[in-house]
């Protein structure tokens, strides 16, 4: 959905998706109507399920970062775990370079894992405390590159450390995880993932556990790796401001569904879906103190066992209409590659739109075209 080779997020050209070259380029990972229902255990819940992820379409291209944002419990991690094949999906499909992935065992699974690596939130838990950095990386390199000579392997391990900016490499080889800072540990986890020479990285809140002062360093590293290694990166975060800086495209989830998507700058500067607007308005921002709109955000995230009918945001939405309670809104295609699943963008609802956003703002918003 974005210009595949450009490193500059602001140049993410939404129109590229329609241009022949981009269309011809096969995405590294694609999910089609990806769905996960977890069975609910316990008395009186027979047959009930948690609708954790429903109908999620994602496209990860080489050399680009897609951010997945949304509140706690909206299904972000589940999407990543489905893509990583750590969980069986209920329905829908995951494609690696155009072919459906239906493996969970054996050699083909290993091939898939090599191509799709996951980086987790907690660098403390993800590294075994009894192994040195050298051991961890050597193991990753040997598993994924059998047949390397010892010298080649050692060289590759050093190269990995250099790549994640742990220099000089020698200083880190003999260290145990507890001798490293959080940021260094997360770099080792990234190096381990790179040991597989993956095509895609799934980074689930890779910096949330790190100190604010060192987060930027790790995010800059991920962005550099994306361009240097032409990686496709899924960046899961609560922090929509970081999505603005580090992701070409931003996808917003609410209660298991994608409700808005588009180039990160558009989505963060001009959110279209009422939930995204609430999310942006809630983020702390010292620059905006005077201008904060008072649009009280009431209510709790919905139950995923008995989700609200129609639009899942309707119980909290200040603009909810009758149709919102009855029918799930499709994705409406708006200008500049932005899409939002909200009935306000339906043709013939210009009046409601003006009432919701103020006539001036609404005048700048065209009708959407339902695309899904």
């Amino acid at each position: 959905m974005t210009t595949p080779t450009s490193g500059d997020p602001s140049s993410a050209a939404p129109a590229a998706a329609d241009s022949p070259s981009a269309a011809a380029r096969v995405p590294v990972i694609e999910t089609v109507a990806l769905t996960k229902h977890f069975p609910v255990r316990g008395r009186g819940s027979r047959g009930k399920v948690v609708h954790a992820v429903e109908g999620v379409d994602l496209r990860l291209d080489a050399g680009s970062v897609v951010a997945l944002v949304g509140e706690s419990g909206s299904g972000k991690s589940t999407v990543a775990r489905l893509i990583a094949q750590l969980l069986p999906r209920t329905s829908g499909d995951v494609l690696l370079q155009g072919s459906s992935v239906r493996v969970r065992l054996g050699r083909s699974f290993r091939r898939y894992v090599r191509n799709v690596q996951m980086i987790l939130q907690d660098p403390f838990a993800s590294l075994n405390p009894v192994h040195t950095v050298g051991y961890v990386l050597t193991r990753s390199v040997s598993i994924h590159n059998p047949g390397l000579s010892r010298a080649e392997r050692d060289q590759k391990v050093r190269g990995l450390l250099e790549q994640v900016e742990l220099r000089p490499a020698e200083r880190y080889l003999a260290k145990f995880p507890h001798e490293l800072s959080g940021g260094q540990r997360q770099r080792v986890a990234i190096a381990r993932a790179l040991g597989a020479t993956p095509k895609a990285l799934l980074a689930d809140e890779p910096v949330s556990m790190l100190d604010v002062s060192i987060r930027i360093g790790v995010l800059n590293l991920l962005q550099r790796l994306k361009s240097d290694l032409d990686l496709a990166i899924l960046y899961i975060t609560h922090d929509i401001a970081s999505a603005r800086y580090f992701a070409d495209e931003t996808v917003v989830m609410y209660a298991g569904q994608v409700i808005e998507r588009g180039p990160s700058e558009e989505v963060t500067q001009r959110p279209r879906h009422p939930y995204t607007q609430l999310l942006i308005a809630s983020a702390p921002d010292a620059d905006q103190l005077a201008g904060r709109e008072e649009r009280p955000a009431k209510g709790e995230p919905p139950s995923l066992i008995d989700p609200p009918t129609g639009c899942r945001f309707n119980p909290r939405c200040p603009f909810a209409m009758d149709v919102c309670r009855q029918e799930r809104p499709p994705m409406f295609e708006l200008e500049d590659g932005q899409k939002a699943a909200c009935w306000l963008y339906d043709e013939g609802r210009a009046e409601e739109r003006a009432a919701a956003f103020g006539a001036g703002v609404a005048a700048g918003i065209t009708n959407g075209v339902a695309v899904a």
């Binding site: 706690s72 603005r244 709790e300």
Partner: protein
């Protein structure tokens, strides 16, 4: 309160009554040479009606300060020196908390100062309803009269309503509430005895931004209604810039900068503060370069010599390795009497030339957006 209100309130220095004065407070974890020097000579003042923000990286001593100031420090923590003086803004009673005996402390705690512990929302007892836990909490501090339980129940309902939880949730078990609701219950508990000071240690960190905003707005509203003062602890400076009147920035167990929110934001004086401000990607406005801070937070057992920030400081000069700067006036001295900083760049006797541009925004005239 917004930055603008804060600015308006700050310009004619209104009369500010201190309710909590922390002086030269030091805390170690452990004894001998392996002791972690978690706090070193901390000075901090909370004024009546004020929201004082306390920010800094993980491990810099924020929670330790909160525990020490309320005498709730768990072992092996030891207060090695200092004083913490409470003076009621309501009737003037008080004294040095560090010198009170157990009975005096018990009377003081929760009634004068209450604390919402970090991660507290996960410490509710899973086998009792939140109503029961609220009622028990209130009863623990009330004389045992015959209708005490009835009164406590009524008060619990009142408190829940105050923090925006429907009354019918009194009978809910903690797991039946969302994280945001559990956190509100903890806030309700802290407010039960109408304290004058509420210390909140990362009250919103585990919540997503929408819930965070709801809770923060609720706290501010309650503060105005009930008239308590707040110490708000978080690592998220951007949140503090919005809600705090003053901000104290901590590094390695010391306060390195203490100023009004607006001053911290528009003219930081300490290189660490400036680094923190450049660590947050701004959500709005033009994109700007993000630097973060090189290196990582120091090991408190093996602290660097001199200024504890010098290994990471872009402006460090020779003297920084030798002298540990004390918290004191800024280079602009009397022009900004209300703020303090601990950085040798502000000491003209040793600083090598003019103050770096980034840290030298003049107090007057430069108050531009």
């Amino acid at each position: 309160m917004t930055l603008l209100d804060a600015a308006a309130a700050a310009t004619p220095p209104r009369e500010r009554k201190p309710v909590l004065e922390i002086r030269d407070l030091s805390v170690d974890y452990g004894y001998d040479q392996n002791a972690v020097h978690a706090l070193q000579g901390v000075d901090l003042t909370l004024h009546a009606g004020e929201v004082l923000g306390l920010a800094g990286e993980s491990g810099c001593g924020k929670s330790t300060l909160a525990y020490a100031a309320t005498r709730l420090l768990p072992p092996p923590g030891v207060i090695t020196g200092g004083s913490v003086t409470f003076t009621s803004a309501r009737d003037g009673h008080g004294g040095d908390l560090l010198r009170m005996n157990d009975a005096e402390l018990r009377a003081q705690r929760w009634r004068d100062t209450a604390i919402v512990f970090q991660g507290a929302m996960n410490s509710l007892n899973p086998v009792y309803t939140v109503g029961r836990q609220l009622v028990d909490g209130i009863l623990a501090h009330k004389p045992r009269t015959r209708d005490a339980r009835e009164q406590a129940r009524a008060r619990a309902l009142e408190l829940l309503e105050m923090v925006g939880i429907p009354k019918d949730r009194l009978g809910s078990y903690p797991h039946q509430l969302s994280g945001g609701m559990r956190q509100r219950v903890m806030i309700a508990m802290a407010l039960a005895l109408e304290p004058e000071i509420v210390i909140m240690d990362e009250p919103t960190t585990a919540l997503d931004v929408v819930m965070q905003r709801q809770i923060v707005e609720q706290i501010m509203q309650l503060k105005d209604e009930l008239g308590f003062s707040v110490i708000f602890i978080t690592h998220d400076v951007s949140l503090l810039l919005e809600l705090a009147d003053r901000i104290a920035i901590m590094y390695a167990g010391r306060i390195v900068e203490d100023a009004s929110s607006e001053e911290v934001y528009k003219m930081p004086r300490h290189p660490y503060t400036a680094g923190l401000l450049h660590s947050f990607p701004p959500l709005r406005g033009p994109k700007r370069d993000l630097a973060g801070i090189p290196g990582s937070p120091p090991d408190l057992v093996n602290l660097p010599t001199g200024c504890k920030f010098h290994p990471r400081c872009p402006y460090a000069f020779d003297e920084c390795k030798l002298t540990d700067p004390a918290l004191g006036p800024t280079r602009f001295g009397a022009a900004e009497p209300e703020r303090q900083v601990a950085c040798l760049l502000n000491d003209e006797r040793v600083a090598p030339g003019p103050i770096p541009l980034e840290l030298g925004v003049r107090p007057e005239g430069d108050r531009i957006a």
